[in-house]
């Protein structure tokens, strides 16, 4: 019984903490995010599994977390507002050569994060970006500025 309760509590706690981190771990896996994932995982596993190392216990733990995930996915699909709460909103970071300061600060994103994403698209300068969008999974999507690209090309 404890594993199920601990699993549910652990899932909710970890979810809330990760969700309020601002800088979203996920697609941007720098060492900064790795520390977080490993350490949090290690801390939460101790109380979730307790000192019961049986197959029964681990089965219950895995199923509980699976069910929680399934439940969240269901809620997310049914209610669009819940999706924004669970996954977060997309944020426009750069638009028409203007940094969107509120979004940058809110997402804890620096200009070099945007440039790192731009480089993966083969862009050489920040001016070549038309839009930069912080996605729900923490990735930064880049839309090229066609005109500037063409001028350069």
């Amino acid at each position: 019984m404890y594993t199920v309760l601990h699993g549910i509590a652990g899932y909710l706690l970890l979810f809330l903490t990760l969700r309020v981190l601002r800088r979203r771990p996920g697609a941007q896996m720098t060492p900064f995010e790795f520390v977080l994932i490993f350490l949090m995982g290690g801390v939460i596993i101790l109380t979730t599994m307790d000192d019961d190392h049986s197959v029964t216990n681990s089965t219950m733990g895995v199923i509980t977390i699976g069910l929680m995930h399934r439940l969240f996915a269901l809620i997310r699909q049914r209610f669009p507002r819940a999706a924004a709460i669970i996954d977060g909103e997309t944020l426009v970071l750069l638009k028409d050569e203007q940094w969107q300061k509120e979004a940058m600060k809110g997402g804890a994103i620096a200009d070099d994060d945007v440039m790192a994403a731009a480089r993966t698209k083969g862009l050489r300068t920040l001016q070549a970006i038309k839009y930069a969008v912080l996605e729900r999974n923490g990735a930064i999507s880049i839309v090229k500025d066609k005109q500037r690209q063409d001028q350069k090309g």
Partner: protein, 180 residues
């Protein structure tokens, strides 16, 4: 039997656009409210950490407690907030009036074992006997100061009441809360 075609729906402009050209579905108003919520959560988390360092949730200065018998027979130091399955020590110190015939006879209520999971008594008592809903330990004793340690590891969550008494002397009672 004809197989039914999988259901379809026409694609509509259901995702909000930026500059009327980039469909990102960004809702900055919602996001502002969320940032406020985030700030509130972090204030709450910080408060939790401060309270924890102080020992409000156990294992800190505020969790430590001390009980003294009016007749000076015993003094007990313990943690008023315990944590589930986490080891701690309850110590009973005895005054000269606790010694009778070269022995200290200490009675402890059952909850010390049942709720607080007493693992070990140190030093080992000469004898232990079930009595009055608890256990009566007898320790051979020399000159004071004398102390007996109980190594606890609470097995259940919630409130536990314990009582200790040097036989024939004042009884000491304490409420302990075990955190999950």
């Amino acid at each position: 039997m004809p197989s039914s075609a999988p259901p379809t729906a026409p694609v509509r402009d259901s995702v909000a656009k930026v500059n009327d050209e980039l469909a990102v579905g960004s809702d900055l108003e919602f996001q502002r409210r969320w940032w406020k919520f985030e700030r509130a959560i972090w204030i709450f988390f910080t408060l939790l950490i401060v309270l924890d360092v102080l020992g409000v949730f156990g294992r800190g200065p505020l969790a430590k407690a001390r009980l003294r018998a009016a007749d000076g027979s015993a003094e007990v130091t313990y943690e008023r907030i315990e944590r589930h399955k986490t080891p701690s020590v309850l110590t009973a110190h005895f005054g000269p009036s606790a010694i009778q015939d070269g022995k200290v006879r200490l009675w402890v209520s059952d909850d010390l074992v049942k709720e607080l999971g007493n693992q070990r008594v140190s030093p080992q008592p000469e004898s232990s006997r079930l009595e009055r809903g608890g256990i009566l330990y007898t320790f051979p004793a020399g000159a004071p100061p004398l102390a007996v340690q109980f190594s606890l590891e609470p097995s259940s969550i919630g409130r536990a009441s314990i009582s200790l008494e040097v036989q024939g002397r004042d009884r000491l009672s304490a409420n302990i809360f075990v955190m999950p």
